[in-house]
Symmetry: C2
Subunit: 313 residues, 2 copies
C-alpha cells in the first residue's frame, strides 16, 4: 500500500490530510497560514509539517503531495497571483518538491474540491460535474469527461465572476456590476437582506439582529418571516439562472453545492430547482442537484487525487 | 496513406468531404437533406453517396466516416432529437456503420466545427478554444485540454441558449426570454434593428430596405448610418458580456467567431473586444479573438478528425 498527502491551503489555515492510495483519509491536522512577508513562510511551513509527520510516523511508500491553492494555477503548477496569500507568480509544485524531496502537484482550490467531491463525495461516479461553493465568495470547479477543467491559464470554473445583471448599481469586490457573487454568496445574501430591510418598512425578525448573517436569513425564512423569504426567493432566482447558464456551457450530470450557504441543505435545493428548470435549455435540463458531502475535507481529498493521477495510480 | 470521410449534416444540404490522414481535403460534394418521413432517408442517402464514391474512385485504406449532426449527441453516438431533421433518439454512428460497413462516429455539428477550427483553422495549436457560430441561431463548441467538451448528454456548448436578459419582453424560439440568440444571431440583429426603426423616427438608410438583413445592418453602419451603429453597439455589448461569461467558465486561449455574422470580420472583432474586456474576470482576460477560417468546411474537417481520433491515428 502507498500513501500520500492532500493539502488545502486557505487564507487563515492549512488543512493537511494523510491518505492511503484507496483514498481513505487516515489522519488530518491544521496549521496556521502565515501570510506576512508576501506569504514566504507558507510553503516552508507545510513542508516542515509534512516532513515532521513522515519522520514521527516513520511513514513509507509516499507517493507525494497534492495541494489546492486559492488562485488560478496552470496545468504545469504555476500560480498566477493569490491575493489572499500575498503570492505573485511562481511554480508551487516545483517549490514544494524542492522543499520536501517529494513529487508534488498543485491546483486551484475550488477545482480541487470539485475533484474531491467527484471522487469520494456527492459526485461519485459522475464524469461531468459542476461544483459551486457558495461561501464568502462564489467559487467553482468543473469536471468534464472525467477530468478537471483547468482552462488555458488555470482560471477555468471562475463562475462566481460571471455577470448576472449588468444594471446592478452596486460594485462587486472585483470592480464589476452584477456578478454572481453579489447575489449568491453568503456576503451577497446578507447584502440583499440589508437592502430589503432599508428599502421597506415590512416587519421582520431580521430587524433585531445586531450583526446580520446569512444563516439568520435562512433561519428567519424557515420561521416564516416574509421579508426573509422574499430575499431568498430573489437569491434562488439568481442562483437558478446562473446555474442554468453554466449548465448550457458544460452540460453537467450533477450540480453539487458547497460552502457555507449550502448548510441550508434541502431548503436551498428546493428553492433553486424550479428556477433552474425555468431557465435551462431543454437538452441540458437532466441534472441531479446535491449538497456537498465532504465539507471542509473536499479540498484535501481532491488534492490527494491530483497527486494520485499524476503518479498514474 | 489512409483516407476517410467528414460529413456535415445540415437541415437543407449534406456536405461530404474526402480527406487523407494528414487532414488534406482532397475533394468535396453536397447532396440534399431529405427531411420528409422523419428524415428516414438521410443516413441511407449519405451511405449511398459515400459507397458510390468509393466504388467509382476505387478508394482503399478507408479509416471510416465522421459526421456532425444538428442536435445533441452523447459520446456513444446517440442523438437526442434533431428537430430540423425530424429525428428522434437513436444511435447515428451505429446506423451509419450498419449501412456502410465502415467505422463511424458522430458529434454535434457546432462541436465538430469547433474541433475542425482547432485542428486546421483559427484555433490551430490551441488546447482551449471557444468557438461560437453566429448564424440563424447561435451555436457553440468547446475544446478543453485538447479535447471536445461533449457534456453528460452531448449538449455541451449550447451557449446560444444562455440567458442574457431575463427582463426581455419578447420570446426566443425555445420559449425563453432574453437568450443569447435573441441579440447575437443574424436573426437577433435584424430583430434589434427592426425594433430600433419602429421605436424611433431617426433617419436611417435601413428604412428603405424591403427585406432587412443582418448584412444590410453592417453595411449601413460601415457607411456611417447612426441608427445601424447604435444597433450594432447593442449587439457588441451583448456579445461581449456573453463571451466574457463563457470565458469565466472555461478560460479559453482563443475565441473563434464563425457563422454568417462573422463575415463582418475585423469590424465585429473590434466592436466586441472592449465589451469583453469590460466584463471578463481578470484571470480569464488573456484571450485572442479570431474569425473562423474554414468557413463551411469546418464541420467536415472536424467530423473527419473525430474518426481519426477514434481510430487512434
Amino acid at each position: 500500500m502507498r500513501y500520500g498527502f492532500g493539502v488545502d491551503l486557505g487564507g487563515t489555515t492549512v488543512k493537511i490530510a494523510y491518505f492511503d492510495e484507496n483514498g481513505t483519509l487516515l489522519t488530518k491536522w491544521e496549521i496556521p497560514t502565515r501570510t506576512e512577508q508576501q506569504g514566504e513562510n507558507i510553503l516552508p511551513d507545510i513542508a516542515q509539517s509534512v516532513l515532521d509527520f513522515i519522520r514521527r510516523e516513520n511513514a513509507q511508500n509516499i507517493i507525494g503531495i497534492g495541494i489546492g491553492v486559492p488562485g488560478p494555477v496552470s496545468s504545469d503548477g504555476v500560480v498566477n497571483r493569490c491575493v489572499n496569500l500575498g503570492w505573485g507568480v511562481f511554480n508551487v509544485a516545483q517549490e514544494l518538491t524542492r522543499l520536501t524531496g517529494l513529487p508534488a502537484v498543485a491546483g486551484n482550490d475550488a477545482t480541487v474540491a470539485a475533484l474531491g467531491e467527484c471522487w469520494k463525495g456527492s459526485g461519485k461516479g459522475c464524469k461531468n460535474m459542476l461544483f459551486a461553493t457558495l461561501g464568502t465568495g462564489v467559487g467553482g470547479g468543473l469536471i468534464v469527461g472525467g477530468h478537471v477543467l483547468h482552462g488555458a491559464y488555470g482560471a477555468g470554473g471562475e463562475i462566481g465572476h460571471m455577470i448576472l445583471d449588468p444594471r446592478e448599481p452596486e460594485l462587486s469586490n472585483c470592480g464589476k456590476h452584477g456578478t454572481v457573487e453579489q447575489y449568491c454568496s453568503a456576503t451577497g445574501i446578507v447584502r440583499l437582506a440589508k437592502k430589503a430591510l432599508s428599502e421597506t418598512d415590512c416587519p421582520s425578525s431580521l430587524r433585531s439582529e445586531s450583526a446580520l448573517t446569512c444563516k439568520a436569513v435562512f433561519d428567519a425564512a424557515k420561521a416564516g418571516d416574509s421579508l426573509a423569504n422574499q430575499v431568498l426567493e430573489q437569491v434562488y432566482a439568481c442562483l437558478g439562472l446562473f446555474l442554468a447558464n453554466v449548465a448550457c456551457v458544460v452540460n453537467p450530470e450533477v450540480i453539487v453545492l458547497g460552502g457555507g450557504v449550502s448548510k441550508a441543505g434541502q431548503m436551498l435545493l428546493d428553492g433553486v430547482r424550479p428556477h433552474f428548470a425555468a431557465n435551462v435549455f431543454h437538452a441540458c435540463s437532466h441534472v441531479r442537484f446535491a449538497i456537498a458531502e465532504l465539507g471542509n475535507d473536499a479540498g484535501a481529498y481532491g488534492a490527494f487525487k491530483l497527486i494520485l493521477e499524476q503518479a498514474g495510480v
